[in-house]
Structure formats: C-alpha cells, structure tokens
Symmetry: C2
Subunit: 277 residues, 2 copies
C-alpha cells in the first residue's frame, strides 16, 4: 500500500504513518496539495496528514483541503512530538555551535537554547531536511533538531533525545483515502459547515447536537476562501453513523448553507502512553 | 511612541504599524514573546501583532500570548497582503534563477512559479529578511518575495508587484498595550473562556449571547496549554462595553471555568478598499 505524506523521509508524518500503517510504502510529497492530488489520481492508496498540534494549533491548509477535495477520513492518531538533537557521525555536543531546524521546532526547544547561550539557532525549512543537510554537507560545528526517525534515515547520530520544553506536545494525524465506506468501530464524525452571517445562527446550529446529547470534541472556525471574514466551521462529534447523528446532520442541513461529512472513523485514544521512552 | 513588532524592518507588521500609528518608532523583535515582554516592562508603549490571515488561518502563538499576558487590545486593522518580487538594484527579471522568501509567501505565489518553471523557489525564514539577504549579498541571479516596504528598507527594486495568487489575502492585526482603559467608539469585544468538558456546554455558553441578540464575528477553539485536547475558546462580540454585553459576560462567568476580556476596541472596516493600487 502506497501512502503519501507531506515532507521528507524521516519527518513526523513519516513516523505517524509507520504507527498507523506499519507496512505502507511512504511517498514523500513536497506540498500537501500534491498528497491530495495523488490520492485523487490513485497513484497512492491513502495519505497521512497532520491536522493540529497541541501547542502550535491547527494546520489551516489541511482543513481547507479536506473541505475542497473528495476524500474521506478513515482514522486518526495522536503522536507525541519529541525533538532530538542530531549531529553528523563523529560530531560531539561540545563541537556544536549552530543548530538547524524548522522555526516551530526551534521555538519548542527554548529552554535548551537558554541553557546554552553560545549555540546559535538557525531556521531551516524542514526538521528532517535539516538532518540531511548537516549530514550530507559533513558539517563539523552543526547539528539539527528533528524526529529520531530522521537520524536513522540520513545516518545522523542522536546526541540528546527529548529536548522539547513541553512534553504535552502532541500532533493529531488523519488517515484519508477516496473510499467513503465507513469502517467498523467508527465512533467519531468530522464535519464542516457554513452559516449565513446572522445573529445567533451558530447557537442554532449547535442546538442540533445539544438537543440530542451529542458531544463535540472540537470546534474551529476558518475563514471561507474567497469570502474574507466569512467562516466555515469544522466540528468533531463523538458519534459514529447512528440514528441520532444522522438526524442531527439532517437538522443541521436545514440551518447551514452547506454541510460536508469529512469522515466517520474510530476515535484515537486521547494521547499515547506517557511512559513511552 | 515606541511600538514593538515581531519581525524585521520592512515586514507586514511594520507596514500595518505604519497604517495604524504613522508616527510610531518601530522596535523589531526576533520573537513574539519579546514584543509582549517589552510591553510589559514598559520599554515600548504598544505592540502590533498579526492574529489571523484570511488564507493561512490563525497565529496560534498570539492567541496563547493574549491569554497568558496582562495586555489589552485597543484596535485592529485588516491589511491587504501583497507579495512583490524584489531584486538587488541592476538585476533584471530575466537574470533571476532563484527566489527567496518565507514558505507561506512562496506558497501564496504558486501561479507565478508555475508560469516560470525555470525559476527555483528557495525557502527562507522571513520575507523582509530575504530582501536584505539578496541585496546585502549582492546576488546577481536572485530575488525575494516580500512587502513593498522591504524594498524601500533595504534598497531593493520591485520587479513585479502583486504576484500573489489570491487577492482575497488579508491579515488582521491587533494593537495591544498595558492600559485597560476603553477608548471612545469601541464596538467590538474579544474574550477567551474555558469550559468544562461536558456535553452541550458550548451550546449553553453561546446561549448567553444568543439570548441577548449579541452577534459573534469569530469563534475559535485552541488547545489549552498543558491540558492536551482541552480547549479554550476565543470569541469576538460585535458589542462594546454596554449593559447587554456586561450581562452576557457575567452570565458566561457562571458557566465557564474562566472568562478573560482580551480587549474592547473599535472594529476595523471589514477589508481595506479593493481599489488600492
């Protein structure tokens, strides 16, 4: 099974795919839209995409793509994000003067940099790519911050593991493909809907769930593309394809401009085991 | 008046500050938290921060900082984002083989790159910084994508203006300072609140506004730091400090774990004039 990810081999999406589909052949894509294109054309059977991080928030582009494209969510995973200091082989920590990584990763390791004021943080376009860079260039004074998987991928060596400031750092990944068939054990539904801009309309929209005792696990408003400052709402319901959920969505259809079911799938355990090494 | 921005001279925050406070002395900060620190310590009188972009979505870190810090919103601005191709003086378009910019800016100019497949997009940490880079290094085969202001700032030359794919590209900026005094003409209120995770509680929370015919212009859920997958809600009300709004917030206080008023300020016009050159 071929699965598209956005990013290079060794990135967090690669790690997430390994956990969700251990035998998948990963197809790296430079851009997220390319992953969706590949699902659409059938050149891959699925894609794994990050949708939100517990510290950095939502991946806006992926919400937009879920709305725009004919794909369906079939699963989710919460991946603990661990940042590691990775150097070319033979480079010791005391030689490191510069550390390359994606700005968000650098930012999530502020305590590390504070404790080593002589080390310079250098923004780079990608975490895994920064490991490839320091290793392939054979830099002797540099290291990178990236997932452990990137060290394996590019022949780097982990100098320090888990240097992130906040261990409550999780990213939620979604598994998407073209099939709209609902899998067994599906107990969560992701939807998107747009509302006319009139007072109280969101209250009315949410009433369709509240009146049926359906819990929401997430609500997010996103600007509607091409309509500045009009919003589309992304909501997750803690319900699968049952009678109450179907009635609520029918009811929502009477209130909303449009409703799109983005997927019905088994909910992930809230977080991965805290005792993970 | 000294005003902190995150980013370098010539960035979009610099441009927004010029429109909100034409006579301000801009103090660039490497990190957003530094801008908030400077407001707090009094080394600047205010800060101007981007809070959401109509295409890229919310700036999650700034929502978190508004929640965590003792600052107050006093104004907002919607800035049309225009990307320009800027080269060192004397470099013509036909010489350009590489274009540096922030990944989001590169991504928002895809049509341009599609029409010139021989030109390579090179991710850089900052838009304005990429202009400084190509000019100060005197590169003869390179240009940068950045606000017009960056050309003026670093002595670059605009080769092409407005190369963004989507003209419906706006960023909303907030003006913050330490004073909690409410200015005249304030007709918009930004709040944050957290809810216990029980079914229907968001519906109940929104009822305090719906029952009083108070319109919301935005709702956003953000993970609560340190509590993975628990959410804090950021809501904008189209009301100033009037009796109905005060009653609604009192009422919300009975339902929510906490309520914080982030600011009460005059609403910006929805978008800048479309006829802007």
């Amino acid at each position: 099974m071929r699965v598209a990810i956005q990013g290079e081999f060794g990135c967090f999406s690669h790690e997430a795919t390994g956990k969700m589909l251990p035998r998948a052949i990963v197809v790296p894509c430079a851009r997220s839209a390319e992953g969706f294109d590949r699902v659409d054309s059938g050149s891959v059977q699925a894609a794994v995409i990050p949708i939100e991080n517990s510290l950095a928030g939502s991946v806006a582009e992926h919400f937009d793509l879920l709305l725009a494209r004919d794909v369906f969510i079939h699963g989710e995973l919460h991946l603990r994000i661990r940042h590691n200091l990775i150097a070319p082989p033979g480079v010791a920590l005391k030689q490191v003067c510069r550390i390359f990584s994606h700005p968000i990763a650098l930012d999530q390791c502020r305590n590390f940099f504070r404790s080593r004021p002589d080390i310079q943080a250098v923004p780079f376009y990608d975490t895994a790519g920064s490991v490839r860079h320091v290793v392939s260039e054979g830099l002797r004074d540099a290291a990178a911050i990236a997932p452990k998987q990137a060290a394996k991928q590019y022949g780097g060596r982990v100098l320090l593991a888990g240097i992130e400031d906040d261990r409550q750092n999780y990213t939620r990944f979604l598994l998407i493909n073209k099939s709209h068939k609902i899998g067994t054990g599906s107990n969560k539904t992701s939807i998107a809907f747009a509302l006319k801009n009139v007072p109280g309309v969101l209250f009315k929209a949410l009433s369709v769930f509240a009146l049926r005792d359906i819990s929401l696990s997430k609500i997010e408003s996103r600007p509607l593309r091409g309509h500045p400052w009009e919003y589309v709402f992304f909501v997750d319901l803690l319900r699968g394809d049952d009678e109450a959920a179907r009635s609520a969505l029918r009811h929502l259809g009477e209130i909303a401009e449009f409703v799109k079911v983005l997927g019905i799938y088994p909910a992930a355990k809230p977080v991965e085991s805290r005792s993970e090494p």
